[in-house]
């Protein structure tokens, strides 16, 4: 039997160096007796061990967990940890064995420590001591469940770099002064002032933010156990707040509804008129009217109605299907991936986007939500037909010589008929309302093509259609 004497409880370095040597010496956990306290001067009692041995590789995660769990107050922690690293040295998968009793204990102990640290970060309450050389000084008294000061203090350093502070606990203290963190012995509550000038404000806030209509005391106590209450200034008010809650809530429910505040009419913002007829005499007014459109249910989910964009006297009008995700967010047509592809194709065909009027057959984005994305959905014939009212107004205002339809929906939007692009493509069609029509594919069709070679040849055909339009309008 080897006796190991650790001078201080919760000292990870001492435990680690002892454990290392025991491990190197091949000492099984059953053969070690761990003791804590400053009884003996030497680390090892009876049997001597090699000063050092071949290093044993352990998973990094295990070392990190052990560094936390050593702070646990249970007396058998050093022994249990040694048994676990002994087993881990012989079983590489040990940590993943969630059903193993040792690992189960380790996880629970680690969880308890991390929770204790987290609660310390949350529930320390500083009180102001004064100011020294332009730096404010604060001090707090806290009683953690375990010996976690070294685990919890670095957080306060990161957070309160610009002030001096000390946290005193029964076991140890942490002091941040002159931009240096030091540790010292435990202390007592008397070292910390009884109150702080801001506490009255804090307690006022605590009382006011509480909603008496939804008392859930158990939910509060689960997260803020009573053991912490004695060091929380606001906790003094809990009893009174709970006692008065039902009466306050009842008063709220029963209070007669009072007359409207006489100042209401003076303050109130006039409610915008919704039923004003749409002004469609200019493109600008039309864009505003499109945004308010409720002719079909698509407006319910989309961000905004996206009208066309371009010069009033554009010779060529480009009609797409509907706004996509980016168009819907930005309120402009053809700014998403398909728009970028279109820009490239236009440039190649020798067309200047700024000279064209770009719009869509349907003005609101139709989609299916899927997690954090919106999947494009084809508009129905009914939706295209409902939206034709707007497209016709745009056509009447712009009076283009040539309309290029991109995709089947655009073709239906312009012609009112379900025609196949294949049958229409490659010829120039006269339009009843005047002007001509060229039908081609939608650029998103190219984006969706998995076959790169085919996509390249399709893109060439697309650019050729645009070039043909350029020649026609020239």
């Amino acid at each position: 039997m080897k006796d190991v004497q650790l001078e201080k409880p919760g000292d990870f370095d001492a435990w680690r160096s002892a454990a290392r040597r025991l491990l190197a010496g091949g000492v099984a956990p059953e053969e070690v007796g761990w003791r804590v306290g400053s009884a003996g001067a030497s680390l090892f009692g009876e049997g001597s061990l090699p000063r050092s041995g071949a290093p044993v590789n352990l998973p990094r995660e295990l070392i990190e967990v052990a560094e936390r769990v050593i702070c646990h107050r249970d007396a058998d922690v050093p022994a249990r940890l040694y048994r676990i690293i002994w087993r881990a040295a012989h079983d590489k998968q040990l940590l993943a064995r969630g059903a193993d009793p040792d690992i189960d204990w380790l996880r629970k102990a680690d969880k308890a420590i991390r929770r204790d640290v987290h609660k310390m970060h949350a529930f320390v309450r500083f009180r102001r001591l004064g100011e020294e050389a332009g730096r404010e000084c604060f001090v707090a008294w806290f009683e953690p469940s375990h010996r976690i000061i070294p685990l919890a203090a670095p957080f306060f350093q990161r957070r309160f770099f610009g002030m001096d502070w000390a946290i005193v606990t029964p076991d140890a203290r942490a002091i941040w002064r002159n931009e240096t963190l030091t540790y010292g012995p435990g202390g007592s509550r008397d070292e910390v002032p009884d109150t702080d000038v801001v506490e009255e404000q804090w307690r006022t806030y605590y009382g006011a933010i509480f909603n008496p209509a939804r008392v859930k005391i158990n939910a509060m106590r689960a997260e803020m156990p009573k053991k912490y209450w004695r060091n929380l200034p606001e906790a003094e008010d809990i009893a009174a707040l709970v006692a008065g809650a039902e009466a306050r809530a009842e008063r709220m429910r029963e209070a007669a509804v009072s007359l409207a505040n006489p100042l209401t009419e003076k303050w109130r913002k006039p409610v915008p008129e919704d039923d004003a007829p749409d002004d469609v005499t200019t493109l600008e007014a039309l864009a505003r009217a499109v945004d308010r459109c409720k002719r079909c249910p698509l407006h319910c989910s989309a961000t905004q109605g996206v009208a066309g964009e371009g010069p009033k006297r554009a010779r060529i009008m480009l009609v797409g299907e509907q706004p996509g995700d980016q168009e819907d967010l930005q309120g402009r047509p053809f700014v998403g991936p398909a728009g970028q592809l279109l820009d490239g194709a236009l440039a190649e065909a020798g067309l200047d986007r700024r000279q064209l009027y770009l719009t869509n057959a349907v003005k609101h984005f139709k989609f299916t939500p899927r997690g954090k994305r919106r999947l494009h959905e084809n508009p129905s014939a009914g939706e295209i037909d409902a939206c034709r009212w707007w497209l016709d107004k745009e056509r009447a205002l712009v009076k283009p010589d040539l309309i290029i339809t991109l995709g089947a929906s655009a073709l239906r939007g312009v012609t009112g008929k379900s025609l196949s692009i294949k049958s229409m493509r490659g010829t120039v069609h006269p339009l009843e309302s005047g002007g001509q029509l060229i039908a081609t594919i939608h650029p998103s069709f190219l984006l969706r093509m998995p076959d790169k070679l085919r996509a390249a040849s399709e893109r060439e055909a697309f650019v050729a259609d645009l070039a043909c339009a350029r020649d026609l309008a020239a």
Binding site: G162, I209, K269, F367
Partner: protein, 416 residues
Amino acid sequence: MSAKPILEKLAILADAAKYDASCASSGTVKRDSTGTRGIGSTEGMGICHSYAPDGRCISLLKILLTNFCVYDCRFCINRASSNVERARFSPAEVVRLTLDFYKRNYIEGLFLSSGIIRSEDYTMEQLVEVARLLREEHRFQGYIHLKTIAGADPGLVALAGIYADRLSTNVELPTEAGLTSFAPEKRPETIRKTMASVRVGESGAIEAAKGRLIGKARPPRFAPAGQSTQMIVGADAARDDDILKTATNLYSAYQLRRVYYSAYSPIPDASSDLPPLRPPLMREHRLYQADWLLRFYGFERTEILEGAKDGMLDLAIDPKLAWALQRREIFPVDINRAPRELLLRVPGLGTRAVDRIVAARRLGRLRLGDLARFTASVKKLLPFIVTPDWRPGSLTDSAELRARFAPPAEQLALAL
């Protein structure tokens, strides 16, 4: 008005802010005060510094800049026609309170909202000014959540995103009909546009970050904790189905981090057209559970409402269990062989338990006794799982299965 002492203003403006459910301070970037030599840090995971007796966490100083408001939303205590006492903080007072509270470790930061005064733009400017003062004049590195005022200029929203960790725009009511009748000045499309401008700001910041490889200047981070919203539950006639439909749309369109569901709570001096009821807390709870199923468990909205009556979730049992009872042909599933996606559908298994089961079963078959190490509710699992030493037999299809889980009738009455 300015003569009101700070304590009185604080009581009024915190009371006015408490109907906003969110108090989260998580999800932002890691930063601390080492470089600035000031104060403040964020660690990714938020901290709840206290809990009120309503069980809600107090993480941020959650206040309104003012509760004067030109809007007249029926469900809101601060509506123009309400007789509630009014107050207004100056930006400097909010800054002072935030720093005083922060230095004493009461809070993670500030959640600032406001009634609408003068105009949407003016109000937004005031909120942004508080955040600017904290960040620029006081080198404050803590968490800031700003309410974005629907309809405010996108330029102001972009500025808010530079100072704040999180932005939120409340949709208030899940349906357009509800909003039209209860919040006449608000328009759902205005709210959605404001959310869109936050998302556009966000993606702009991501693009800028990508360009950093060649550029010199560090791009301004934009609201690193993203945006969230809140819907009031139980004030209007919207069903759970409507609520979840709106939520899924919002998650997908604006990549919200969170949608908060807030049980409508009677307010003093209530408007006469609202129910003076106890807040439907259980309904709120079920909606949160459903929201989690949507986001972390691979459920579709339609699945969650499969067995629902009139588009409402079952109040007596949780939505995953309700779904499982509808789809018993899928169960029991083999704990040692079922894919992760299927384990996630087992009532009583959370995401963490599933991950640990998947890791542990690689090293050896799991028996029933082992499961207690992964979940607290082995009893709940029994009808739905198979292990080498357990088969539920006819239990899975038993007609009494629902009764086994549903609380006795009198408790149900209490929940309503």
